[in-house]
């Protein structure tokens, strides 16, 4: 008796979900959007993508249907959701972050166009072999984060900063790339600073790492590391106890309390992805002929707190900054 009830309840549940799904208005063009997890940079990428698609397809929902999927940080889920996109017959897949793009590439088997977004190094991730144009079914947007430029700016504003603390997640491909390039640049330019690097594995380690660095260093530098950025408030608090400056590499973090940045706006990448999507699904340009968009548009943002907390800093290079913050 019992197994029958179980089976019946599952069937009822699934049929309810199916019927709810059928009531939806069907668009002409379907695209799937898969992202690894929720995080300010990813969210602003999606926001940019949504705004631009709404502009390109003014009757959004009638011409274009976007199916969103959140993998909630599990690679297994990327597989399930991209396969469900395939079964729904999408004409393109947008994959945000490196693992999402890699799994989507495997699952789509070069048949459906794939647009990757937010992949720091598409070549090292094995997606494409050159950054100039798309390949097979793959194209996308990437960004060259102005990490070194931001660091130089930080040294301009705080000339006494010699020991700089960096927290990064050892398990994130993007962070490793950023740290390696930064190390190389500092040696090449022969700069008189030292980087104190601490690697963490999860959000739980951030507080410890931040406290250790705050005692040792003259300032903290935040790279675009998913785990670190999602818990940036912890680091800001630790820096506050030793009144250290915290410089970030993206605009969202400055809005949350870091001092300033010469950062990328991930919205730009989302917008570029929406334009690529239009090229592929509306203008029917083959993927190999599209250009991979490299985001090099830097925005100078500063938080108002800096004037209150560090009145002695050198503000000359921050004159053109867009100011954010409350007071």
């Amino acid at each position: 008796m019992k197994p029958k009830i179980t089976l019946l309840s599952i069937v009822i549940l699934i049929s309810v979900l199916v019927s709810l799904n059928l009531f939806k208005e069907k668009g002409l063009i379907k695209v799937g959007l898969i992202f690894f997890t929720n995080h300010p940079a990813i969210d602003s990428g999606i926001e940019g993508f949504n705004e631009e698609t709404a502009r390109i397809f003014p009757q959004n929902g009638k011409e274009l249907e976007i199916i969103y999927a959140n993998a909630q940080a599990e690679i297994k889920n990327i597989n399930s959701s991209v396969r469900s996109f395939k079964e729904k017959g999408v004409s393109a897949v947008i994959a945000i972050t490196t693992p999402a793009a890699q799994v989507a590439n495997k699952v789509l088997e070069n048949k459906t166009p794939l647009i990757f977004v937010g992949v720091s190094d598409p070549i090292a991730s094995g997606l494409v072999s050159t950054l100039s144009k798309g390949e097979k079914n793959i194209t996308g947007t990437t960004s060259k984060a102005p990490v070194f430029e931001t660091l130089s700016l930080a040294l301009d504003v705080f000339p006494n900063m010699k020991k700089i603390g960096i927290i990064y997640t050892a398990t994130e491909a993007n962070s490793k790339v950023i740290i390696d390039t930064l190390d190389k640049d500092i040696i090449e330019k022969d700069m008189d600073i030292s980087l104190e690097k601490v690697s963490i594995n999860s959000t739980a380690d951030i507080h410890r790492a931040a406290m250790v660095l705050a005692e040792k260093c003259d300032g903290l530098f935040l790279i675009n590391d998913n785990t670190v950025i999602s818990a940036v408030e912890i680091i800001l608090k630790a820096a506050d106890t030793h009144s250290l400056p915290v410089v970030a590499c993206d605009i969202d973090t400055v809005k949350r309390g870091a001092l300033f940045t010469l950062g990328l706006n991930y919205k730009d990448e989302g917008i570029a992805a929406a334009r690529l999507l239009k090229e592929i699904v509306v203008d029917k340009v083959p993927t190999e002929k599209t250009k991979i968009y490299v985001n090099e548009k830097y925005h100078l943002y500063a938080n108002n707190i800096i004037f209150k907390k560090f009145p002695n800093a050198n503000f000359d290079s921050l004159q053109n900054a867009v100011l954010v913050g409350n007071n």
Binding site: K2, P3, I5, T6, S9, I10, L13, I14, L17, V18, L20, N21, F23, K24, N38, I67, Y68, A69, N70, Q72, A73, E74, I75, K76, N77, N79, S80, S81, R83, S84, E87, K88, T98, P99, Q102, V103, N105, K106, A124, S125, G126, A170, T171, E172, A173, K176, N201
Partner: protein, 276 residues
């Protein structure tokens, strides 16, 4: 359906490993998530340096065996509790996994792309070997060790040796499963295994409640049907959940609710997974 079968086959060995440690040995080995990533990375490292698939499968298997053995030594030699020794191994593996390539994400070189379907062959081979293994004395000793350790002690059998062997095989299977799915997806990542333990435990419980009629000897059928059902649930959640009603991040909520529903309808029959 195809997706669910592929997923069930990819994660079958890992779930068999989890079953061995949780159900048969009654040892809640929490290191499974990182052992899975370890297998993926260790196997890739071996494949890239030796270019021999058989050798790399063997290296991956024995690497996993050492990981499991390490956990068992922590427990039986140093008297660290079962849970904590699993957690210690889990933490250590975070660093070990980064040693192989010194970076967290490595794509599979093009010349090895042909091994993507290897998982089917290895799965069937392992199932056949396991069916034979259930008839051996080793298997029966492990079962006894889990259910009534006192008997083992009375017979003057060293329980630490058998915990070593049991946990070693459990981790070796998890590690092998990680390597096979890394070959299938074409890349390995240190975050590869996140969620494997929870999925495995859920699949075991679902399989055992749904296929109650089969005895303990048919545990492979139970596990496989549990995997299949759980993969189907996840897939349906992704495929069917209407966006008008749920947001994209509700998929875990829905899959959780479905699993709860299954468990509630069978609540009279279920046993505890493991008593800690």
């Amino acid at each position: 359906m195809q997706t669910a079968i592929i997923e069930a086959l990819l994660y079958l060995l890992a779930t068999l490993g989890i079953y061995t440690s949780f159900r048969i040995l009654r040892f809640p080995d929490l290191s499974a998530d990182n052992t899975y990533s370890f297998g993926a990375i260790c196997g890739f490292w071996a494949l890239i340096s030796t270019t021999n698939i058989v050798a790399s499968l063997a290296i991956c298997f024995f690497g996993g065996f050492i990981v499991g053995g390490f956990t068992s030594i922590l427990y039986s030699k140093f008297r660290i509790s079962k849970l904590l020794s699993g957690i210690i191994t889990y933490t250590i593996l975070f660093s070990i996994n980064l040693y192989f390539f010194n970076k967290p994400n490595v794509p599979l070189p093009n010349e090895f792309q042909g091994f993507a379907s290897l998982y089917i062959i290895i799965d069937f081979l392992s199932i056949i070997i396991l069916i034979y293994a259930t008839r051996t004395c080793l298997w029966k000793t492990l079962l006894t060790l889990g259910s009534s350790p006192n008997i083992i002690e009375e017979y003057k059998i060293s329980s630490s040796t058998f915990i070593f062997i049991g946990l070693g095989f459990s981790s070796a299977f998890i590690s092998l499963s990680g390597f096979l799915s890394a070959l299938y997806f074409g890349f390995c990542d240190t975050q590869f295994g996140f969620g494997v333990l929870i999925h495995g435990v859920a699949a075991i419980l679902i399989g055992e409640t749904v296929c109650e009629i089969f005895g303990i000897r048919f545990f492979i059928i139970k596990i496989f049907s549990g995997m299949l059902l759980y993969s189907l649930i996840i897939y349906f959640v992704f495929y069917l959940a209407p966006e008008s009603l749920f947001s994209t991040s509700d998929n875990k909520l829905i899959s959780g609710a479905i699993v709860i529903a299954i468990m509630i309808f069978n609540r009279n029959k279920q046993k505890d997974l493991v008593s800690i």
